[in-house]
Symmetry: C2
Amino acid sequence: MRAGRRRTVARVRKTVGRLADGREIVYFDHDGAAPREPHDPRRLPAVQTAAELRHDPLLDEWVAIASHRQSRTHLPATADCPLCPSTGGRQTEVPTADYDVVVFENRFPALAGDTGRCEVVCFTSDHDASFATLPAGRVRLVIEAWVDRTRALGELPHVEQVYCFENRGQEIGVTLHHPHGQIYAYPFVTPRTRQQLAVARSHLERTGRNLFADVLAAERDGPRLVARSSHWTAFVPAAARWPVEVHVFPHRQVPDLPALSSSEREDLAEVYLDVLRRMDRLYDAPLPYIAAWHQAPVRADRSLAWLHLQLFSVRRAPGKLKYLAGTEAGMGAFSNDVLPEEAARRLREAGP
Amino acid sequence: MRAGRRRTVARVRKTVGRLADGREIVYFDHDGAAPREPHDPRRLPAVQTAAELRHDPLLDEWVAIASHRQSRTHLPATADCPLCPSTGGRQTEVPTADYDVVVFENRFPALAGDTGRCEVVCFTSDHDASFATLPAGRVRLVIEAWVDRTRALGELPHVEQVYCFENRGQEIGVTLHHPHGQIYAYPFVTPRTRQQLAVARSHLERTGRNLFADVLAAERDGPRLVARSSHWTAFVPAAARWPVEVHVFPHRQVPDLPALSSSEREDLAEVYLDVLRRMDRLYDAPLPYIAAWHQAPVRADRSLAWLHLQLFSVRRAPGKLKYLAGTEAGMGAFSNDVLPEEAARRLREAGP
């Protein structure tokens, strides 16, 4: 932490409750905020899930089959938003009149019971805000919520990987506009992580060096740099798959969010906002994006993995989207119409 | 071939020409059709490509960076369709007044020169047709075109895999409505194929059996069967990733389309049409889909691979699409809201 800089969060207060159907809800507040006293008066049926994991023999990968999700809430009117606080007249998924950051178990989970767990993370009670418009102190609280959930879900006996992410924008299928993210706790190591770690293992055996350290060293001063702080570097990857794609790496090898120091978390809040705001300035309209936290598996390869954030968008031009069509969805071979150095230049010029 | 069944194609006539900028064009006609005499009078600038392959160090995969594609033709009016035959007043990409099946090099290729080659396959001169409405004899001609191009492109020195596919529907990003497919000749083995073959190799070492044969044996009479003929079986995979997904396997192990016998090709034309027509009957509107031909690499693992067709759609309900969001695009972990047995039942009931 830089000398003289005020820590935006001194301590975090956690309040745990239950929704009417037994799902867990966890509030994260700045220490000193008024107490949260959740009471959910709804009469909710028990959550019915048909979540099932199936093994794809051709790719040796697990697929979640979740047929109960077909009936999930789809683009409700703002007045019906289930993520806004409850009011006298309307009970939502959050049974208090306000909140800062709140996490609860998803009512329509892709993973549940012994197939894992899905949680929703509301970033703010303000329906019309977005992650990029949050103050840094609030982002700091979101980071604490991710840290807490990564730890708590990683302690469940069957969970092998915890994934914090945000889908933003109807263009990528978001069904609720209220600013929120999700957390998936998988009972397996995901295909992407498995492959990254296999590549990192073979790189270590071949060179004696950590793969992620080598990538970071190559990008810290290069033509694809977007932003850099004391503890973090944001860059467009050399072989970007998406028209807008930024990777944000901590300078120190840590396996996951709980392993970040307090000053790394402070710094992350600023860098995250800086990059998201640059992304939103690229076009006339806010950018649809996916924010994906790559964390180490709970049990395996923790000294090999290197925590990083992958931010990417399907927007390739005003009014035009990149689709995953034949080459990507069929063969896994990506084609990108935007030169990564050009994307980085535009992002550098778009901020801070 | 069943006794007494007429062969829909006796012989195929191939006519090779050049477009004004030097790109190759190849006509496929039934033997006995009038001769094709392509002459392209346009003054076209030479194709400028910035196609470049970059290596992603974190996943050990190649990404095509093709910044010249940003300016490609995007949803032109029917009267401006570049895939319709030329008329007296308008020169298109096809410099004849008619055609049956025609293949030419893509003017906006993702792969070109020593990074590979991209071709366009027009299935019919009828702008308003679709693959599913073609007569079987025409599908047979398309199969001959795929066979020819798989052979011809596989002979280029740097090509490692030939991929025939069709993207259909604006929902998956199709920019030209005229019924057409594409062929990508990659200078590498694609990530999906590489992984399938690694899994098949380890299955062979462990069990002594071919992985694809085992999958086919398990699906030939099961609850996910969609259609079956003498030489082909179509089924919904047990761990389907997409709300509509059908795999079509030949009963005999063949590496690629050129290795199919004449009767297997005949039979394929019928089965392909049968399955596509069932898919189009699922909803009120024609289904957006991707048709992906999984062929063996040109040089490697040809005795391990097993040719198959993967048909899949992003349509999960009327008016609703499946998006690849955080879990799929970030972690490669798929979640499917439709039970594969239920999808198979609906497809069985939808035809023939």
